[in-house]
Amino acid sequence: MDGNQTSVLTRRNFLVTGVTAAGGFIIGISALPHLAHAVTVAAQPWNDGEGHNPHEIDAWIAIDPDDSVLIRYQRSEMGQGSMTALPMLINEELQADWSKVKIEFASANRNLREKKVYGNMYSNGSRSIKESQKLVQQVGASARARLIQAAATKWGVPASECSSANSVITHTPSGRTIRYGEVAADAAKIKLDKEPAIKPPSQWTFAGKPMPRLDVVHKINGAAKFGMDAQVPGMVFAAILQCPVPGGKLKSVDESVVAGMPGNPKVVKLDNAVAVVADGTWWRARQALAKLQPEWDVGAAGSTDSAQFFREYHAALDTGKVVTGRKQGDVGKALAGGGKTFEAVYETPYLSHSPMEPMNATVKIDGERIDVWVGTQDALDETEKVAEHFKIEAENIYLHNAYCGGGFGRRDGADEVIQAVTIAKAVQKPVKLIWSREEDTRHDWMRPMAVVRFKAATGTDGMPTALQARTVTGSVVLNALHKLPPNGLDFVSIQGLATNGYAIPNMLIESVLKDTHMPVWWWRAPGQNQNVFAIEGFIDEIAAANKIDPYEMRRKLLAGKPDWLAVLDAAAKNSDWGKPLPKGKGRGIAICTDTDSLCAQVAEVTVSPKGEVKVDRVTAALDTRYQVNPLTIAEQVEGGIIFGLSAALYGKIEIKNGAAVQGNFDTYRMVRLAQAPKIDVHLLASGGEKWGGAGEPATPPIAGAVANAIFAATGKRIRKLPIMDNDLSFTV
């Protein structure tokens, strides 16, 4: 055992262990218990009836006379697993027989009509659990208290003499029992004088252990219903071509060319796009769309390109409006103080989210009522966005949330829903709108590009005495939230830079915002996903130049922070750090804090003399502070690393003539099995005030860890992503 965490991984036998807040070990699993799959989520997760169940105790929980329990889950499921984890937390308090639990999505429409009884509904920012764990535990605890009160009233005994477990209430003195299903109707009428206390994680008996994800049973046989799978009687299919230059408008289009094509195609003109609807299949709509040769009004943006943007961003390092994000000591004085100084500039390009399920929405309009079937990361917010756009009552929109075929931050803009509603209004029929992969890639709301300049000074011991970082980047906050906070700081732009944990006495982190015409948006681990690559590379440069082991330098810079050190050590020690490797192989390390979690990774790479990179192995440690379902946390680490690795190795969206160049997976390349490293995950749970997120923190460190490993292998420093654009060849 190593400190307070350990893990063992072999090819066939995966053991997750972590420590609970109470210090007890979570027991690992080698084969997942199939029994757990008795609990069901629906293959179609939404409820078309908008959710009123006759056996409801409240909006969250219904218990039938036969004891089956329906739990409503108020967020989204895009593979992150909180559709399993949050109901686990409800049941930690409810103490129902888990094998009789069914789970469905809560209705956004009902949420609007019933004073937001479900609260917010987003699954983004790794917040699904960390921001609703207290709420859902209270839901479970309240329901249980009401069930017990109902039984006590029936028996004429004090509720304090009763307890419940596994859906059975027991009157302890007499030994009498009654099932939840027998008192649920009475419980529904009970109002508690006082809300019961919820359990601290140290008292959990159910949550905190690995639980196979409940949606998986529907994802091995094609049954799971995603947005694109919605089928509405009488619907037609729509394909769309948006102005290649974002911000541009449709000028004109000759509609006559589609006449006589199969499926009775009709052209629908949108402000910035042209769509074609057809009967029978989306393919017909796409074929007809391909015949159109629309003219666009693209304005000045139509002559821009990536090279120009990078030149402008570099210039803005000195000419842009600088906002301070973090300041301590006096960086200027320390840099001029006569020590060894360093300066380097790091670059990262635009990136598309590219979830596997291209954007789509299905819409039916009936009088005032609009029904929408879509996989969204935020059913409530999208409902409100659509209402705002069309200036209608949000209560008239019934958004049926489906499983999301990936999200990564893209699926909460409502742009595809607004298009589908517009088209359905135009053709007066239900419409299923599907974006082609090319539309999905090119009309992504991108991860912004960035140029970050660092300056540093080191003392006689080789350790940094000053660190300055100034980023020039597009503003996710302005694009998504339309205004900056009163201090004028885009807090996303400096994420990963300002959040570094290093004890450097003089530090200045600055932000310069520079948008182009390309919309930018939340991408997995916003800000962090590019800034951690930059800062962890620069720290590595300093360590190398001063001949200090990069892991040891980080240890010194994190001295006195036991949580950071534990994560750093877990990654390093399990990676064989320090064990010699031949030329052409190397290890690199990186660490960050993101969504109140900590993540460190060591990458081991092989670089061929020709400069081909293979990432052989990644050792990751993640501290989420608390763990509801360690299995899904480990999965998010594995997936987050691959997501970040695709970006690190291959990811770039280039702009030419104002338009995104890459359109499909032949040019916007992804890691596949052959490029996927062996991943070894170590989970920690250090407890404390805040809960950490799981979905994002494993994405930021990987690019830095790989780039630093490439330096160790070849002596070549990567300051520009993607890695494939760097010449890494060397002479043997």
């Binding site: 998986v216 046989n221 094609g222 599907i434 999965e635």
Partner: protein
């Protein structure tokens, strides 16, 4: 009208012969387990079996398929108990799940040709994209399925 034999059942499909099988399956036959990912046979989300061979259905026109036997994810097993499905469940492979029908169909056909694959065999043959990055578990599940099928 084109007659397609899907999962042992005949379907009359009133679509043009150049329609990709993917869209005939999803929009005409009504089987939505086969997924659209790229449309250019790059990602494999649309993988089905045509006469036992794994094919990317986004790029196979239905005009060529009269008389062919087509199997989709829905027809792989009546009870989701195919060894590959069981291995997927045991390793908790899918995250978002969009690519997984294709991953499973590709793996079933692959294991018929390579009942005891090495990692290198898997790398060379299973080339479907998973954006969630489930590769670690996917690889384990392929080995587990191979073991189950041998047993």
């Amino acid at each position: 009208m084109i007659t397609l034999t899907v999962n042992g059942k005949q379907h009359q499909v009133d679509l043009e012969p150049d329609t990709p099988l993917l869209w005939a399956l999803r929009d005409a036959v009504g089987l939505t387990g086969t997924k659209f990912g790229c449309g250019i046979a790059q990602c494999g989300a649309c993988t089905v079996h045509i006469n036992g061979q794994a094919m990317r259905s986004c790029s196979v026109p239905i005009g060529r398929l009269e008389g062919a036997s087509i199997t989709t994810i829905e027809g792989l097993s009546p009870d989701s108990k195919h060894p590959v499905q069981q291995a997927w469940l045991a390793e908790d492979v899918p995250q978002c799940g969009w690519c997984q029908s294709g991953q499973i169909m590709a793996t079933v056909a692959f294991l018929k040709q390579n009942p005891k694959p090495t990692d290198a065999d898997i790398d060379a043959n299973i080339t479907n994209i998973c954006r969630c990055g489930t590769y670690e578990r996917l690889r384990r599940a392929i080995h587990r399925a191979a073991d189950l099928m041998k047993a």
